[in-house]
């Protein structure tokens, strides 16, 4: 494969810098986008990937340096100008209107009109249905986006970009909410686009995916381009080495806790689905002290809903829950937290963080009762607890009084975890704790989870990432269609067996020990 002839450069950033007052976000970064290829961009959070993409999409203007489109200098003063030149972008955060239908969302930027006056709803629905077929999704174009799961919403976001004819498509972590089946479909679409000569810019933290789908890779670190290579010539350890400078991994041998006392005993937890059937279908789960249990499953397997039932966030849930020998049945979320159950929710932005509050105020929100003296908060004691947890979780923050939104994703996640730890829980539930955070922070989060297990907590985490669950858990439970389909000690688990058990149709045949 000869890069310059097979895949000509369509768009290039040459020595682009972006300076915000006080910080250099991009330092003379050069990046070439080749057509008919997947151009991968990797780097830890804060390495400058997003800033570079925003410049390519016309959202931000470079402080110095220039962009070349087909070899000619060009400027994109607004996102419209970039779109006009065939540059599409799928943002990491979903930019959908939950109150509008799938079809309306897909065509929100450029509605299909009848006589250039009113919106041609029928044609939009047809086109949307076509796109859904192409993405192999059984989603009715008239469904409200708000009724879709996050993974399906991401599919809609992808359809939105495909609806317009793009020459260059930027995908910022498109797979972070997708199941492995959905990822396969996305990869097939990417290959089709490549064959049609579209240049794909692909940003992801999932390195194994990059090895599968990528053609060229650019590694960024601290606002600079650290390395460039053809994906065929490199390996995952090479990428990690370029990104963080050193290998970061969780090295832990699984422990057996068969003799430890059970801490969390859930029996017959069930949650009826609005569409009939059960979202959580009479699940029973026992977690012992010191045990780290990974719940592996696809999107929609019912993992998050199970956690919500356990936390008392689903008023219609049935079943019984014992924590350290005490029944939590009928208790509110607040009471359960006080009794020693904690949760780190899946969606950090919408359920984990309180935007206007400071890092310190976020950290102590769940455990304010610990700092009360008479009616008021004991500020020095609160401050000390905040200081200690920032230290022990290695949260990078200049002062605990800055707003939480100023932190990077990884540090925000550590704050959410710190918030639950300050309640001094006996059991902690973590829903996708590694989602959307960089490799370094991920390793720290997983090490923290192992440490909590060693300290005697019952730790349960849900994930759709096979490597995560294989690397961190003592015991792996697989969920599909609301039920537990397999339960392995890690030593006995194989990736094949987990995948088999996680698919609703094959799960019945798979079983487990």
């Amino acid at each position: 494969m000869n890069p310059s002839t097979d895949h000509p450069v369509v768009l290039a950033a040459v020595d682009v810098s972006k300076v915000f007052p006080g910080t250099v976000a991009l330092d003379k970064a050069s990046f070439e986008v080749r057509s008919g290829a997947v151009n991968v961009l990797v780097g830890e959070n804060g390495a400058g990937k997003s800033t570079l993409m925003k410049i390519l999409a016309g959202v931000e203007q470079p402080t110095s340096g220039q962009l070349l489109l087909d070899g000619k200098p060009i400027r994109f003063p607004t996102p419209r100008d970039a779109a006009g030149h065939g540059i599409g972008i799928i943002y990491q955060e979903l930019n959908l209107c939950p109150n509008l239908s799938v079809a309306e969302n897909i065509f929100i930027g450029a509605p299909l009109l009848r006589y250039r006056i009113d919106i041609d709803g029928r044609r939009q629905a047809e086109r949307a249905a076509e796109l859904m077929r192409r993405l192999e999704q059984a989603i009715d174009p008239q469904t409200l986006v708000g009724d879709l799961r996050i993974g399906q919403q991401q599919i809609v976001e992808i359809a939105k970009a495909l609806a317009e004819d793009v020459r260059i498509l930027i995908m910022d972590e498109p797979t972070s909410a997708l199941s492995s089946v959905e990822v396969e479909i996305l990869f097939r679409v990417i290959r089709e686009l490549k064959a049609a000569g579209v240049a794909i810019i692909y940003i992801s933290h999932r390195l194994d995916e990059i090895m599968v789908i990528g053609d060229y890779i650019t590694v960024m670190r601290d606002g600079r381009v650290q390395a460039r290579a053809a994906v065929a010539d490199i390996s995952i350890p090479w990428i990690v080495g370029q990104m963080v400078g050193a290998m970061a991994a969780v090295a832990a041998a699984p422990d057996s806790h068969a003799d430890a006392p059970p801490v969390l005993v859930a029996e017959n937890i069930a949650l009826a689905s609005a569409k009939g059937g059960f979202t959580v279908d009479h699940v029973s789960l026992t977690v012992r002290a010191g045990e780290v249990v990974g719940i592996y499953g696809l999107m929609g397997a019912g993992r998050s809903e199970l956690f919500e039932c356990l936390m008392g966030l689903q008023p219609d849930a049935t079943g019984s829950l014992m924590l350290a020998g005490k029944s939590l049945d009928g208790q509110s979320t607040a009471q359960r937290i006080k009794n020693g159950l904690a949760m780190v929710p899946e969606d950090r932005q919408s359920a984990g963080l309180i935007g206007p509050l400071s890092v310190a105020q976020n950290l102590t929100l769940s455990s304010l009762w610990r700092f009360v003296r008479r009616f008021a908060l004991d500020m020095p004691r609160e401050k000390k607890a905040v200081h200690d947890i920032i230290g022990s979780l290695n949260i990078k923050v200049s002062t605990p009084d800055v707003e939480i939104t100023a932190l990077s994703g990884g540090n925000q996640q550590k704050v959410v975890i710190g918030k639950s730890l300050l309640t001094e829980p006996k059991a902690i539930l973590l829903d996708e704790p590694g989602r959307g955070i960089d490799v370094g922070a991920k390793a720290e989060v997983f090490r923290t989870m192992r440490r909590l297990g060693e300290a005697g907590l019952a730790v349960v985490f849900a994930t759709s990432d096979l490597h995560e669950v294989m690397a961190v858990a003592d015991r792996i439970v697989v969920m599909a269609s609301g039920t537990i389909t397999a339960d392995f000690p890690r030593a006995a688990a194989t990736e094949d067996a987990l995948v088999l058990a996680s698919h609703p149709r094959t799960a019945a045949a798979a079983g487990g020990s």
Partner: protein
């Protein structure tokens, strides 16, 4: 620069004081400042309660009507007594009892608002709009549209002393101003230093995250509307006491002044941002502005235009500050 933006309400307050101090010769005298203070106090009571409600991303449009209703309740109790029809008996509660009953009425209206907003899931704007009409209607029904003209009380009934709230002084300072200082200090302490206060901010900042963090959302919301109702009841008492009469139309549009003070003081209608201190300053800016303009002889029509412009300017500055902060947050994230 950001600091200047953050202090803008204080700067605005100093500016209006300086302006009227120079242009209106009698403005900076103790006498006129105390009058301004008494005017500000009424709005500030309401605005303090309103601040708690707005911090939870709610709104309370009913406070003006609660002022009217509570004035009528107090006036009725003092003037006509509590008639127990089946027994053909009329009880005249003393002033302390009257005040307590009135405060309870205000608090109950607040609880009603809170229950509508939480248990029945009515949007705060609509719920309190409905209460605005109901409470005003109740005031008119109780008084049959009439004024209770004499709230001085009668010695033989043992219910004298009510005018103290509005015109009494403690060490030369009007009682209503002393009450304002006490109220503001207590509210600021509750907002900044108690678990309840912190949870109020959390509910407005991100309700879902607050719920997941173990905050009892419904309880917090019912309490803030109750606080707002209580504050309005107190304002109603002071208004009736100042006039030594209560009129069912009293307090109309007071809710708008209270919202204006809170917003001017930096409270975000989206919830989660703001402070009691800011609101007090906001109430003073509005109060000083209206009284100063009166002293300068500016027509009341122009006063409305000026007041409106100041409120809009405050919100525009608020947006600018938000943008600056987001920019700085972005920088921090990249760094």
């Amino acid at each position: 620069m950001l600091l200047l933006m953050k202090l803008r309400t204080v700067i605005a307050l100093i500016a209006v004081f300086a302006f009227f101090g120079i242009t209106a010769p009698n403005f900076l005298t103790i006498g006129s400042l105390l009058i301004v203070g008494k005017h500000v106090a009424i709005n500030a009571y309401l605005a303090i309660g309103m601040t708690f409600v707005i911090l939870t991303a709610g709104i309370d449009l009913s406070v003006g009507s609660i002022v009217g209703l509570c004035g009528i309740v107090a006036g009725g109790l003092l003037d006509a007594g509590l008639r127990i029809s089946p027994l053909h008996l009329t009880i005249y509660p003393n002033v302390v009892e009257t005040i307590l009953i009135t405060l309870v009425v205000g608090a109950l209206v607040g609880v009603f608002n809170g229950v509508l907003v939480t248990k029945l899931r009515v949007a705060p704007f609509i719920a309190t709009l409905g209460t605005l009409y109901i409470a005003r209607g109740a005031a008119l029904l109780i008084s049959d549209g009439q004024t209770f003209p004499n709230l001085v009380g009668r010695p033989e009934l043992g219910n004298t002393g009510f005018p103290f709230l509005g015109s009494g002084t403690i060490a030369g300072v009007p009682f209503s101003i002393v009450a304002l200082v006490a109220f503001a200090a207590l509210a600021a302490y509750v907002a900044a230093r108690t678990p309840f206060g912190r949870q109020v901010y959390a509910v407005g900042g991100n309700e879902r995250a607050a719920l997941v963090s173990g905050v009892r959302i419904d309880r917090i919301k019912i309490i803030v509307y109750t606080i707002s109702g209580l504050c309005a009841a107190f304002a109603g008492l002071v208004v009736a006491s100042e006039l030594v009469a209560s009129h069912p139309a009293s307090g109309e549009t007071f809710e708008l002044n209270a919202i204006a003070a809170a917003v001017l003081g930096g409270t975000s209608l989206a919830g989660g941002r703001g402070s009691v201190g800011g609101t007090i300053i906001g109430a003073f800016v509005i109060g000083v502005l209206s009284d100063g303009l009166v002293m300068l002889g500016v027509s009341s029509f122009w006063q409305m235009v000026i007041k409106g412009s100041v409120i809009i300017a405050a919100v525009v500055l608020d947006q600018l500050q938000g943008q600056m902060q987001r920019k700085m947050a972005l920088q921090a994230q990249i760094g």
